[in-house]
Symmetry: C2
Subunit: 474 residues, 2 copies
Amino acid sequence: MDTTEFRKRGKEMVDYVADYFEQLDKRQVYPDVEPGYLRPLIPDSAPQDPESFEDVLKDVEKIIMPGVTHWHSPYFFAYFPTASSFPALFADILSGGIGCIGFSWAASPACTELETVMLDWLGKMINLPEEFLAGKDGEGGGVIQGSASEATLVTLLAARTRTIRRVQSENPELTEADIMSKLVAYASDQAHSSVERAGLIGGVKIKNIPSDDKFAVRGSALKKVLHEDRAAGLIPFFFCATLGTTPCCSFDRLLELGPICNKENIWMHIDAAYAGSAFICPEFRHLLNGVEFADSFNFNPHKWLLVNFDCSAMWVKTRSDLTNAFKLDPLYLQHCHQESGLVTDYRHWQIPLGRRFRSLKMWFVFRMYGVKGLQEYIRKCSNAFRAGVTNRHLKFMFIGLQLFQGSNKLNEALLKSINDARKIHLVPCHLREKFVLRFAICSRTVESVHIQFAWKHISKLATELLKAQDKQQQ
Amino acid sequence: MDTTEFRKRGKEMVDYVADYFEQLDKRQVYPDVEPGYLRPLIPDSAPQDPESFEDVLKDVEKIIMPGVTHWHSPYFFAYFPTASSFPALFADILSGGIGCIGFSWAASPACTELETVMLDWLGKMINLPEEFLAGKDGEGGGVIQGSASEATLVTLLAARTRTIRRVQSENPELTEADIMSKLVAYASDQAHSSVERAGLIGGVKIKNIPSDDKFAVRGSALKKVLHEDRAAGLIPFFFCATLGTTPCCSFDRLLELGPICNKENIWMHIDAAYAGSAFICPEFRHLLNGVEFADSFNFNPHKWLLVNFDCSAMWVKTRSDLTNAFKLDPLYLQHCHQESGLVTDYRHWQIPLGRRFRSLKMWFVFRMYGVKGLQEYIRKCSNAFRAGVTNRHLKFMFIGLQLFQGSNKLNEALLKSINDARKIHLVPCHLREKFVLRFAICSRTVESVHIQFAWKHISKLATELLKAQDKQQQ
Ligand SMILES: Cc1ncc(COP(=O)(O)O)c(C=O)c1O
Ligand SMILES: Cc1ncc(COP(=O)(O)O)c(C=O)c1O
């Protein structure tokens, strides 16, 4: 295939995607297929001879689409939003074309430098304290991680190394293994499972701090656990605060927690994976107050800021905390500028070695929307939500429904009937002992009309469920 | 922006990328910019109001391109190849459009199922033992990781958990911390830095096994270290063998090492990140003999198999080893099929939670090239190489040059003059005490003519260097 053919087929692919978007509200949001559906539809092994683009594209519609859960359908209210925008798609085409692997400054200077500046732009948009920005010669700075899970892991590992070194310098008789076995990290009992996973990977204990009746961690709760753990000889070293928990979008109390962490030499990381994008709007920014106490902060533009997956933005105040935790420098990855202090080698900031040119997506999206356009988008989501769903406990853009107060069984049955009907798609969560239906605003193209439809649909199914139950009881 | 505008701009982007490819051999392979070049070229913060696509695209040429290292230039011989092909680019446009996040089967069944089948296809192409394939109900199977580094980390962590459980069941008096502190993992002194990094992350000791005079690890060398470490009370649990080491493409002796690992209850992982793609050619497949002893195997189609980054293929014989190491199941990620035994939830197989629809790239590439086309491509690379460079120690597709036998200083000076001249781009490596110039065949479009040019160019610079030295000595 030459570039002439590439132009032709590439444009057909763009058209296919455009058609897909145009027809998306007509596709069934959740597929009908059963596990194992795909294998019988395609050959057992790769073809020996080349097949045509047309044949492959035909099979996309025949074999792939019937098994796709359409995350960008306006009837998708499950999990969380995942970003999709035209500017990000353009940037990804470009990034694929350039195809550089930006693990170090020299591996493609533009890839590293645009990333550093984009993270500064984004940091300023949410009014992050100066210390988190790279500026011309700051000690802090930002990086694109693949996911919030990796950001939590990377910061936990950096905190682990920093703590081991400090404790060892104070107690030279302790081995690294001794210290490791005493380390303990913390997060809310509402925190995302990735925090527990980071503890598992890093080989350190991780404990839940009980949240209050608003599902937020208070300073007093952390203090109590710290007190017990210090008394038991443990070494608290890491606390992951959540802003916008996955089940119900609660916010840990940073202003209470931050000073405690600072005083106790505990690395405070903030995971705002989902809700963080809202901080670009001044009216939501107060929810980030207290970030000044944190060592690191993370949220996912790939969730709610129109930058396609993957793009998880993470900042640290002291970049050497990261590089100290990871730095290994074989000759084949060295370059002549690396000790200049001016350059950033992002491979020391992350788990993988290779990295794509992902900052292009941020650049395209920030410029083609403008800050005002992005704020408008965040507001559109919350407003569509408010307009569609009345009389509920509102949190920006999603809601926990316990339609049948006190009956998990009925709520479970309702969720099943909703998802079985295939008109909309939801997932549940647990809030303490309650089984809750989670309703999240996800698609960029969702309007109040879709939400109103969903609301009526849910009400209808709930009524049917109650009627059926009444009949059974008669 | 509506879909009409998306079609228009998307196609312009495709044309830009096509133009880029057509002119690539005319662009300077390595940029002239100095660290910090980009920041002064763009505003301090994101614009408030939207800018046009034209303005952004203009800036790509003005601001980005001057700082790009062109990995797909036919004059790029640095690091390792990174894959780029038209079918993969088409698939990435599609994957971006669908934009699903396939962390579980239910999150998009097609995303998970195509991946499982593509890894079976690829496994068959390299004649991997049946146990590594998923088939209809196998215990093994494959997964796409983002990088070889992550594959090594994930398998090391799985081995760590498996070993801790086994040792604990045999010695209930030992705590997890006791066992952790005794665990030790191994790799060649030629292994990629990612192996040492995996040990750092997982909090376990990692030791180098001395390689022989062909830079390969022999069974005897492993045995010796195991003997010493067992005597010292350590618990050997993981060995990472390398097929195609980064500095000089040496191959550890699997047929000697495998039986030792099996007997000693050591998880053998094989890292063939770079060379692995060659195993699709029957004439190179013998280099993989011994894989039958391994617990896990990994190579990067995103390096040399025309599937754009990121796509690192990893297989395990026992998938429950992975899921046991990681499995955490909050309600919001559960779905009704997950206990059926038929479905795969890939989030339990990897570090991040989210994942893109990457198997589309494999599907497009495998079908549009066909196995024969892919084999031809691998052979083209080795042949171009052989034709261009004579009388050198040949290994598929790259070579270590110590042009000035015995003089590291001269070789360093030569590399500097090569990279300063900006005609071609190389990176060095160390082989024991020697500073070596690494010459790798990277670009899909490289032909013998480019290699011959590079060869002449290097010879010319070497001659000049010698002349200058002679003058100095006079
Ligand atoms: C609060 C929170 N943290 C972390 C995550 C995980 O994000 P990722 O998929 O980027 O790892 C999520 C995902 O929903 C989340 O809601
Ligand atoms: C032998 C070997 N292992 C691992 C890696 C790392 O690969 P990745 O960038 O996919 O982590 C490389 C990269 O060159 C390699 O050559």
